[in-house]
C-alpha cells in the first residue's frame, strides 16, 4: 500500500512537535525513520496512523485521504505497534493476539476458524506459538514486544507502523524481527535507533526537531558528516569482507574532551 503525506504536522499547544513532513512511500517498501530522542519520530508514526487529533496536512493511503476512512477501515489497512503498552487485565498471549482481529469482526461476523488460523500464523511468525496460554503479566519486555507484533500481524494490514520494534529484544530476536518485516509483502515504516540496522531498510528518513531533513537510500543518507551533525558521533565506515557490506563504528563526539578535563 502506498502512503503519501503532504505537509504533515502537529503542535502540542505552542510547541511544534512535527512540521511540514512530505513523504511518498511505495507499496512493499521498508522505510526506516531515524533521528535523535525527541525528534518527532513517534509522533510522525502516530500521525501516519491517523491517531492524532487536530493534525496539520494530509495523509493519503493509495490516493484515498486517511480522514475520509472510518476507524475500522483504517485499522483494516494499518496496524500500529507502539513502543510500550500496559494493561492491568489478566490477558493471555492468545487473548492479546486475538485483539488484532477486532477490525474484521462485528456482532454478525463473530470470531471464526479462519480468524483462529490467522492468530496461530501470527504467533508462529514471532516464535510465540508455544506460549499461547501464558499470562501477559508474566512475559518479559521482549516477549511482550513480540506478542504485540503478532497482534499487528493478525490485523492483516497492508501497512505496518512499528515504533522502535527492536527495543527490549535480544540480538537474535532483533535480527529475526527485521528479517520478518522486510520479507512481509506489505509496506513497513519503522522507527529505529540502531543505525547499522537502519542500513538494511530500502530507504531512510532522518528526523531532527520535528523536520524531515533528509530522505533517500541508506548510503545517501548515512554520511559521516550528517551523523556528526545530527547524532553527534564520529562514524567510521567499516567493510565486512564476508559479504562486502558497510557498517559503522561510532565514537561520541564531545565526550573525549570531558574525559581529558577530568
Amino acid at each position: 500500500m502506498r502512503l503519501a503525506t503532504t505537509a504533515l504536522g502537529w503542535a502540542a499547544g505552542a510547541r511544534q512537535i512535527v512540521s511540514d513532513v512530505t513523504l511518498d512511500i511505495a507499496p512493499g517498501e521498508t522505510f526506516g525513520l531515524i533521528g535523535p530522542n525527541g525528534s518527532g519520530k513517534s509522533t510522525l508514526l502516530r500521525l501516519m496512523a491517523g491517531l492524532v487529533p487536530r493534525a496539520e496536512g494530509s495523509v493519503l493511503l493509495n490516493d484515498v485521504p486517511l480522514v475520509s476512512l472510518s476507524r475500522q477501515e483504517v485499522a483494516r489497512r494499518i496496524a500500529f505497534v507502539e513502543q510500550q503498552v500496559e494493561t492491568s487485565d489478566a490477558l493471555s498471549v492468545c487473548d492479546v493476539v486475538e485483539l488484532g482481529r477486532t477490525p474484521w469482526l462485528s456482532a454478525v461476523v463473530p470470531f471464526g476458524p479462519q480468524d483462529a488460523d490467522i492468530v496461530r500464523e501470527a504467533l508462529d511468525a514471532v516464535g510465540m506459538a508455544d506460549r499461547v496460554a501464558q499470562g501477559w503479566s508474566t512475559l518479559s519486555g521482549g516477549e511482550r514486544q513480540r506478542v504485540q507484533i503478532a497482534r499487528a500481524l493478525a490485523q492483516r494490514p497492508r501497512l505496518l507502523l512499528l515504533d522502535e520494534p527492536t527495543n527490549h529484544l535480544d540480538i537474535h530476536h532483533q535480527l529475526a524481527l527485521l528479517r520478518l518485516v522486510s520479507r512481509l509483502p506489505v509496506t513497513v515504516i519503522l522507527a529505529l535507533h540502531d543505525l547499522n540496522q537502519a542500513m538494511e531498510c530500502d530507504r531512510l528518513g532522518v528526523m531532527e526537531s520535528g523536520h524531515l531533513i533528509a530522505c533517500g537510500s541508506p548510503a545517501e543518507v548515512l554520511t559521516p558528516e550528517r551523523l556528526a551533525a545530527i547524532f553527534r558521533v564520529r562514524a567510521t565506515p567499516l567493510r565486512d569482507p564476508a559479504d562486502n557490506s558497510t557498517l559503522f563504528r561510532f565514537q561520541c563526539l564531545g565526550c573525549e574532551t570531558e574525559r581529558t578535563r577530568k
Partner: protein
C-alpha cells in the same frame, strides 16, 4: 458468510449462556419470592403467578396471594434488575476508564441522586409534581452532565473523569448534608438516610416496568460492544488503532451506564459495592474477556442482590436493614479478599 452460519453464531452464545443463566435467575427469583418472614411454598408461588399472568384460576389464600404478587415478586424483580444494572455499569466503567476502582457511583450519579431526592423531600421542589424518584433521577443526570463537562474541560482523559467524579460527588454530598442540616426535621432526616442506604420495601409494579427495561436495554447494548471493550485493554489509543471509534463508544457506553445507574438509584437509593465487587469477583472466575464477563456479571449481580435483599429482611426478625448496609457488610470483606488475591497484578 452464509446467513445460516451467522444465525448459528448469534444463537450459540444465547444457548450457551442464556439458557443456563435464565434457569439460575428463575430459581433465584422463585427463592426470593418464596423465602421470607412468612415462608410461602413454591407451588403456591407458581399458582399465584399463573393466576395473575393468564387467569389460571387456582384457589389460593387471598392474603398470601397479595404478599406474593403485590409485594415480594416486584421487590425481587427490581432487586434482580438493580443488581444486574449496577454490575453491568461497573464492568463498563472499569473497561473504559481503565481504573480498577471505577464503579457506577464514580461519576457523581449517586451523590446527584441523593441531592435530587433531598431537594424534593425537604425543599418541596417540583411542588409535589415529581416524586422522590423523579427528583433523584433528575439530580443523577444533572450531576453526571456536570462531571462530564468538568472532565472534558480538564482534558477529557480517563484520569480526568475520575478526578471530576470525585470533585462532583464531594460537591453534591455537601449540598445534601447542608440541606438536611438546615431544613430537615428528625423524621425527614431519618427517612432520607434510610433511602440513601438503599430501600427495596417501597417497590411496586410500576417500578418493575422501569427497572427491567433499563437493565435489559443496558445488557443488550453492552453485549453489542463486547469487542470494543476488549480493545480498550491496552488503553484508548490502542483501541483506536484497532478500529474502535473511541469517542463514540465512550459516549454510548458511559451514557447507558449512567442511565441504568440513575434509574436504579432513583428507584431504590444508592446500593454500594455491587458495581465494584461483582465485576472484580466474576473476572476471577470467567477471565477478563467481555463476551463472558458481561453476561456473567449481569447474572451474578442479579442473584447477589436477590440474596442480600433476603438477608436484609431476615437478619433481624421484624426489622428490615437497609440493603446498602448488607451489600457493604458482604462487599467490603469480599473486596478485601479480591485485592489480596490480585496483589501482583494491580
Amino acid at each position: 458468510m452464509p446467513r445460516k452460519t451467522v444465525l448459528r453464531a448469534l444463537l450459540r452464545p444465547v444457548a450457551l449462556w442464556g439458557v443456563p443463566g435464565g434457569i439460575v435467575l428463575l430459581a433465584a427469583v422463585l427463592a426470593g419470592v418464596a423465602i421470607g418472614e412468612t415462608p410461602l411454598p413454591l407451588p403456591m408461588v407458581a399458582a399465584v403467578t399463573a393466576n395473575n399472568l393468564w387467569g389460571a384460576g387456582y384457589e389460593v389464600d387471598l392474603i398470601d396471594a397479595g404478599i406474593i404478587w403485590n409485594y415480594r415478586l416486584p421487590r425481587t424483580l427490581v432487586a434482580a434488575a438493580c443488581g444486574a444494572g449496577l454490575a453491568l455499569s461497573g464492568v463498563v466503567l472499569q473497561a473504559l476508564v481503565r481504573n480498577a476502582l471505577a464503579d457506577p457511583y464514580l461519576l457523581g450519579v449517586s451523590a446527584g441522586a441523593s441531592t435530587g431526592a433531598v431537594a424534593v423531600t425537604i425543599l418541596g421542589l417540583g411542588g409535589g409534581m415529581i416524586g422522590i424518584s423523579g427528583g433523584a433521577f433528575a439530580g443523577a443526570v444533572l450531576a453526571f452532565i456536570l462531571v462530564a463537562a468538568l472532565a472534558r474541560a480538564a482534558g477529557g482523559g480517563s484520569a480526568q473523569l475520575v478526578l471530576a467524579g470525585v470533585a462532583g460527588s464531594a460537591l453534591f454530598n455537601a449540598i445534601t448534608s447542608f440541606l438536611i442540616a438546615k431544613s430537615a426535621n428528625a423524621e425527614q432526616a431519618r427517612g432520607i438516610m434510610f433511602w440513601l442506604l438503599g430501600n427495596l420495601s417501597v417497590v411496586r409494579w410500576p417500578d418493575v416496568w422501569l427497572a427491567l427495561p433499563a437493565a435489559g436495554f443496558g445488557l443488550l447494548v453492552c453485549l453489542a460492544f463486547v469487542r470494543s471493550m476488549d480493545a480498550f485493554s491496552f488503553g484508548a489509543n490502542a483501541a483506536a488503532s484497532l478500529g474502535v471509534s473511541v469517542r463514540r463508544v465512550q459516549v454510548m457506553l458511559i451514557g447507558v451506564a449512567t442511565l441504568m445507574t440513575a434509574t436504579m438509584v432513583s428507584l431504590v437509593g444508592s446500593i454500594g459495592f455491587v458495581g465494584l465487587v461483582i465485576p472484580h469477583a466474576i473476572r476471577l472466575v470467567v477471565g477478563p474477556r467481555h463476551a463472558r464477563l458481561i453476561p456473567a456479571s449481569a447474572l451474578a449481580g442479579a442473584v447477589f442482590l436477590i440474596a442480600t435483599d433476603f438477608v436484609s429482611r431476615m437478619l433481624i426478625p421484624g426489622q428490615v436493614i437497609p440493603i446498602g448496609v448488607v451489600t457493604a457488610l458482604v462487599g467490603a470483606p469480599g473486596f478485601a479478599l479480591i485485592i489480596i488475591h490480585n496483589r501482583r497484578r494491580l
